[in-house]
């Protein structure tokens, strides 16, 4: 991780301990840590030996010793994860004592990283652009319409596995163009441009019914009468506009018919229709109606054919025998539009008017009108910017609005709409810019102000803007004091489903199950069950069921405040009949996904045995134990191996050993592990992946693969043995619980903060892990700890004093 000198400088004053002389840290190292290294590590990483390129006894200076942050981070992870010292085959596994691990941890955190536990460095969060999902949700809440940003905007990049990472959310010129266009589209769609509209109702051909026919298509050979009734509330003038069409077949057809239209039984027009490829029939009538029911009807009466030869009326179209003539003359009702009441006193407010113009119509008096515009735009910009807009901005917006509604023929509403477009194109809307509490101005580290906190909470838990209650609390400065009740309230809100969806979608990659290319035929074989079209297919419904299972499972743990370890192992999951059949779980019927208690000894329960995860870690035609093993290391145990080295040696030469026989997958992997270059990592990944080999690429159970029995037994690299997936889950949940806590804490913190974690976050993570251990790993404890943590609550402020005055001054 690149360290920026400028920031390092700024940080000098962040943590008081930072001033500490490296010599002190070095002395502590020699006293507390070096003896441990000498006892366990230096055989391989010292005295001139540098296994894996790591030495622990050669540092040019005290400053270098202290400055090797990457080394200490890796060492901490390896030692705490039990990966170092390594277990030697056949020898007793040498393990560090708790106290020894503690001494190393202490030194790394407080001497090498100079963490000040009383005032830790909260890190730097780059101003985050709303990602596509956040944008869509925010527009929904702000404007009340659904704008499909997932189609309209290019995909967001992700960093550290999450697409809300501020550093990678770049804003390309193309996207800027799209933001501007979207601002217009959204306002045009959401905000009314007039104060009053004449009500319109529109009926299509399908709305006209009679004797088994509809107005959608009436054949000139068959008599038809179709009608539609509706009621109006006011006695007034109304306008009825008919839009019908004669549609002939491609080839000429001789049939003819008389079309008659009626309003309330009175004949309004009559027309003889004959073959035309396409001929519109449009008529408009004004009617004086009483309140109550009215009926519009059409009648079609066949006439003698144009060529004089009387044509028999053919049987109904669907029964037409093959080869019969396909020509026809059809009459189609496209729309009938009823507009009214037409008198201005009966005009109504357009939909949404009250949402954007809560005080009603604009006053006629110009000054009052301008004041209303300012008031509306001040409130709107405040919501959109997630903090009060400063007065300069409000005046500029009001000027944009005036510029439009001051023109002849333009409405007040159009003017406000135009200013709203400017708000939606503003960087204050598109970016989440955070500010420190004003009263802490000048401090190197300060709590973020409550508006920033409200936005952090809402984008973390809802992936959308803060609601009125969060904004109200922030305005009064009471949000921090009410953090826990607000957290509870927010998690109970249906919007919290976004958290589950976004977090599991990316942490467990569950969203990929909707697109991962898996060839069901290749996985299941030609005798597998077929779908309605007779194809063996991993279809969309099935993929969504799998995604739902994972989401509902996580949601359950969240809502019921269960232990995080149930993510790894439990005796329940969420299924419907189809998914249960696929998994071989009996007695589940119906389409509804629901909580299912698994039979004793079931292999299911826990995310590792869920279809979504098993599929996304597979190749299109077969499983990949390496990908699955890697998945567990990266996302469950939090001890990812380093990436594969370049110049991977050819497995081909070794393959010759099998003398023409196709080696088994496990044998191939075994070869892998014979190569020293591959071994250290594959011995961590492969046993985990092989334990999951009982699940095919679609997550179904199997005892054999290509005729060979599956051999799931193995050992974690830390030594714990397991016979199969059931035991593996138990071993992880029981023996590696702390690893699971730490891994999930790190993932959750990255998602909540929108940044990768750095060395200065180690202590924060440790504190959360401690709290989890003391509280049975409950989900609520994790979420509370994350939102209460220093990185979530605070920020580094800029060290440039000159600029700081203006931002810290209150916005109003």
């Amino acid at each position: 991780m690149a360290w920026r000198p400028a920031l390092a400088l700024a940080l000098g004053s962040v943590a008081g301990a930072a001033e500490q002389n490296p010599a002190v840290a070095a002395a502590n190292f020699h006293r507390n840590v070096k003896p441990i290294f000498e006892k366990y590590c230096l055989d391989c990483h010292g005295n001139g030996v540098a296994k894996g390129g790591v030495t622990l006894d050669e540092f040019a200076s005290d400053a270098e010793l202290v400055g090797k942050r990457d080394l200490w981070l890796a060492l901490l992870r390896n030692v705490r994860g039990g990966l170092m010292p390594p277990r030697e085959e056949g020898a007793e596994h040498v393990k560090l004592a708790e106290a020894e691990i503690g001494a190393i941890t202490q030194w790394i955190k407080f001497d090498a990283f100079k963490t000040d536990p009383k005032n830790p460095d909260p890190g730097r969060v780059t101003a985050r652009r709303l990602n596509r999902v956040e944008y869509r949700n925010t527009i929904r809440d702000l404007m009340g319409i659904d704008f499909n940003s997932e189609v309209e905007f290019p995909p967001d990049d992700s960093g550290h596995g999450f697409d809300n990472n501020g550093d990678v959310l770049t804003l390309s010129p193309l996207l800027m163009e799209k933001y501007l266009a979207a601002a217009e589209t959204i306002v045009e769609q959401a905000v009314p441009t007039v104060a009053r509209v004449i009500r319109e109702r529109s009926y299509s051909g399908r709305d006209f019914r009679g004797e088994g026919r509809s107005g959608e298509q009436m054949n000139a050979r068959n008599p038809a009468k179709v009608s539609r009734s509706f009621s109006v509330e006011k006695a007034d003038k109304y306008r009825v506009a008919f839009d019908l069409e004669v549609r002939g077949s491609f080839d000429f057809d001789a049939s003819r018919a008389r079309l008659t239209a009626f309003i309330d039984g009175e004949k309004r027009f009559e027309e003889d229709v004959m073959w035309h490829e396409r001929k519109p029939l449009r008529h408009v009538f004004e009617v004086e109606w009483k309140a109550g029911n009215h009926t519009i009807a059409f009648e079609l009466t066949p006439l003698p054919a144009a060529d004089g030869a009387p044509k028999p009326v053919p049987a109904a179209e669907p029964d037409r025998p093959r080869g019969a003539p396909t020509t026809a003359v059809n009459v189609r009702v496209n729309t009938v539009q009823v507009t009214g009441p037409l008198s201005p006193e009966h005009w109504t407010k357009p939909e949404n008017h009250a949402r954007f113009f809560p005080d009603g119509d604009a006053p006629a008096d110009p000054a009052a009108r301008d004041a209303y515009a300012e008031k509306l735009l001040r409130a709107f910009a405040g919501r959109a910017f997630r903090r009060p807009a400063d007065e300069t901005r409000v005046q500029q917006l009001a000027a944009i609005a005036r510029q439009v509604y001051g023109q002849p023929g333009k409405t007040f509403e159009e003017g406000i709409g135009r200013a709203m477009m400017a708000v939606l194109a503003s960087p204050r809307f598109l970016f989440r810019v955070e500010q420190p509490e004003a009263k802490h101005a000048g401090a190197a580290v300060a709590p973020i102000d409550e508006y920033s906190l409200a936005a952090r909470l809402s984008y973390f838990l809802w992936a959308t803007m803060p609601d009125a209650e969060l904004m109200r609390l922030a305005e009064r400065g009471e949000l921090r004091a009410q953090l826990r009740p607000q957290l509870t309230r927010m998690l109970a809100d249906p919007k919290a489903q976004m958290f589950t969806r976004q977090f599991t979608g990316q942490w467990l990659q569950a969203r990929d199950v909707e697109s991962v290319p898996i060839n069901a035929r290749a996985v299941l074989g030609p005798n597998a069950p077929r779908n309605r079209d007779g194809r063996i297919e991993f279809d969309g419904i099935f993929r969504r069921l799998m995604r739902s299972e994972t989401e509902m499972y996580f949601e359950h743990i969240l809502k019921q405040d269960r232990s995080l370890l149930e993510l790894v192992d439990s005796d329940y999951t969420f299924l419907n009949e189809r998914l249960a059949k696929h998994y071989g779980v009996p007695d589940v019927t119906g389409d509804q996904m629901r909580l299912v208690k698994l039979p004793a000894g079931s292999v299911r329960g826990g995310v590792l045995t869920q279809g979504a995860i098993l599929a996304v870690t597979s190749n299109p035609t077969r499983t990949s134990p390496v990908k699955r093993g890697l998945f567990i290391l990266e996302n469950i145990l939090g001890t990812p191996p380093p990436p594969a080295p370049p110049n991977v040696p050819d497995l081909e030469e070794s393959k010759e050993k099998f003398k023409g026989r196709e080696p088994k997958l496990s044998e191939m992997l075994m070869l892998h592990r014979e190569k020293p270059l591959c071994r250290s990592c594959h011995e961590r990944m492969d046993p985990l992946g092989l334990a999951m080999e009982n699940f095919n690429a679609l997550g179904g159970w199997r005892d054999t693969d290509a005729g060979q029995p599956i051999e799931p037994a193995g050992r974690l690299v830390t030594g714990e043995a397991f016979a199969d997936i059931r035991e593996l889950k138990k071993v992880i949940a029981r023996e590696r619980a702390v690893d699971v806590y730490r891994c999930l804490t790190e993932k959750m913190l990255m998602y909540a903060l929108g940044r990768g974690l750095e060395y200065h976050d180690v202590h924060t993570v440790d504190e959360i892990v401690d709290r989890l251990q003391q509280n049975g790993g409950r989900m609520s404890v994790l979420l509370q700890s994350v939102v209460e943590s220093v990185p979530f609550q605070k920020q580094r402020t800029q060290s440039t004093a000159g600029a700081s005055v203006s931002i810290h001054s209150p916005a109003r």
Partner: protein
Amino acid sequence: MKRSPAPASPSDLAAQRFLQMNRRQFLRGLGTCIALPMFGSALRPLAGAATTNPAAGLGVTPTGAPLRMAFVYFPNGAHQDYWWPTGEGADFTFGRTMEPLAPLKGAVQVLGGLDHKNATAGNDGAGDHARANATFLTGMRARKTDSTDIQVGISIDQVVAQKVGHQTRFSSLELSCDAVRKAGRCDSGYSCAYQYNLSWASPSMPMAPEPNPRLVFERLFGAGAPGERQKNFRMRQETQKSLLDFVLDDAKSLQRSLSSHDRDKLDEYLTGLRGIEARIQRAERFGELPDPNADTPTGIPPNYGDHMDIMFDLLAMAFETDSTRVATLLLAHDGSNRAFPQIGIAEGHHYCSHHRNEEALMEKIGQIDLYYMKHFAKFLQKLDAKKDVDGKSILHNSMIVYGCGNSDGNRHTHHNLPIVLAGGGGGTLRTGRFVKANSRPMSDLFLSMADRMGVKQLERFGDSSGVLTAV
């Protein structure tokens, strides 16, 4: 803005020519995946790049016609034995993969011996797919980072676009057939940005490509039904102009209050705004939008082959209407594990590319390479059939690189990259040859292309060693 009656510039003529195509030709041009009605003969001629005084030699052929440059990327390297032709110079025979190019043999060059050293592991370890993609048009080494401090280099298309782009409505066009992003992490500690973008406006600013054909079409030709687009476009333009002052001022005031890092983010915003401003000014200068009087495509076709075809068609339309002279098209990101059931390949491409010399998998790689090549060849044939203002074909007046930043996908090598340079460069390229460059940086080819585009002042690019004169 007052416009004097401009003399028919080459682009005006191109535009008229575009309208005069007969229906059959046009439909063929667009492929069968979108059925388009014919051009209305009543349409007024279009004004394309109506610069009355085009900057001398910038993005033009020796005859004064527009010169276009495009880069098309296919993923995961190529089956070596099937890719490389036999023979050398003008006397060569295509290998299996390039058979679809046979009818165009005289219009292409196969380039061997071009390398991207900066895509090799160096001290960076694994991540060859991310590097192959990131280095391909930049010639630079991507900094290995997952999020902070993304850095590679400005890409050659953007270097050229920044010089010649003012002459057309769009300074460049970035397209992709990769619509779905994988969740989670990308290649071995490299940010996904490296793997899904070919084009970089600055070392840290990727130009996100557009995968949706409808949106490409609307951007080029306006939204709405044929005939309404000009009006819609004008209205939109007027509205945007009325907003620009506010947002510019807002962004600047916000930027002043930010930390240096966040200021960089706001810079991206401001750059985007300035681009829009420039586009609006250009659009006013160029007058009417070209209106292909065709229905807007509906979205991303479910069949990948159709998706490629339609993106190629849109690219051809953009070139033909002289809407831009610089484009990139990422057919799929390097490392793509797409399956090809339409040609009977159920396994993923990436999976097959690590074939461990197994005959069956290698054969599949050959099939996939051929599949990509067929679609590319179809595109070239369309360009070849379209006449440009100087009576030559659009293909003659283009330089189109088709290639990959990986050569052997099994071993992740980055030397002797699989590269085809199609088109005559306005008669400046010696086509119809298999050129062996003998281990030269790919960047040398870029220098020589930039040179032809009129960007003469470019002395170095990426890891270049000098202009490649052999093409």
